[in-house]
């Protein structure tokens, strides 16, 4: 399976914080800086559960509207 390119290791470790403490989770919560409504949304590569690469734009271009819930197991 071809995974995504390995990015900045420091970013990977900080983003995937190992404990829920404010100094580790708060820096990622930047909703007020998120993309505006009505303008082109930023596109990114994404992967299905088998590790096959697709793109966000390939998802939203299929339906009239697409609801996207962000989250995780925890």
């Amino acid at each position: 399976m071809e995974g995504p390119r390995v990015g900045d290791q420091s970013m990977i470790e900080r983003y995937n914080y190992n404990e829920f403490v404010p100094q580790k989770f708060e820096p990622w919560m930047r909703f007020e800086e998120s993309p505006p409504l009505g303008r082109p949304a930023p596109d990114f590569p994404l992967w299905d559960l088998e590790g096959r690469e697709t793109r966000f734009s390939a998802v939203w271009s299929v339906h009239t509207y697409t609801a996207v819930e962000f989250g995780s197991f925890t």
């Binding site: 983003y15 829920f20 409504l37 949304a41 271009s61 996207v68 962000f70 995780s72 197991f73 925890t74």
Partner: protein, 154 residues
């Protein structure tokens, strides 16, 4: 959210779950250290928690999640042209379905010949805040997740 996805699919509304990082890592579901591990956790979302919507996984560095505001459980609705039309910093099924209903109705209004133009609206919606149920979910992650949440939030 799964039921909403099923209810509105016949009306041209797609739904996905975009897997990010572990918001409350614990002994049983720790933080990600590899992309393979992230894929395994995402599969558990389907196999253990029963998410039936297509699940797509962000890169290990959270490039997509970070660009969209990085909140742990937000929902966006994006139209077919690639423009977001709804974003909420927390996921509430009632709020999401209310928005979907509005946008699907707008499609029907256009089809009926009405001329529509976009405008901005702000709204402060209300989400379920059942702390007991939330702690039950945290227990699934491991005692560490419960301990850390109590210390950070109370």
């Amino acid at each position: 959210m799964n039921q909403i996805a099923e209810r509105w699919a016949p009306h041209g509304v797609g739904s996905i779950f975009l897997y990010t990082h572990e918001a409350h890592p614990g002994e049983y579901w720790p933080h990600h250290t590899s992309f393979d591990q992230k894929l395994q956790h995402a599969r558990a979302l389907r196999d253990v928690l029963g998410v039936t919507r297509p699940i797509l996984v962000d890169a290990l560095d959270g490039a997509c999640h970070r660009a969209y505001g990085g909140m742990p459980n937000m929902t966006w609705i994006i139209n077919q042209s690639g423009a977001p039309v709804y974003k909420s910093d927390w996921t509430d099924a009632h709020s999401v379905e209310n928005a979907i209903q509005y946008f699907v109705a707008a499609v029907d209004r256009r089809r009926a010949g009405e001329t529509l133009a976009p405008f901005n609206v702000e709204r402060l919606d209300l989400r379920n805040a059942d702390r007991e149920a939330f702690y039950k979910g945290l227990e699934r992650n491991g005692p560490k997740a419960v301990r850390e949440f109590r210390a950070a939030i109370g």
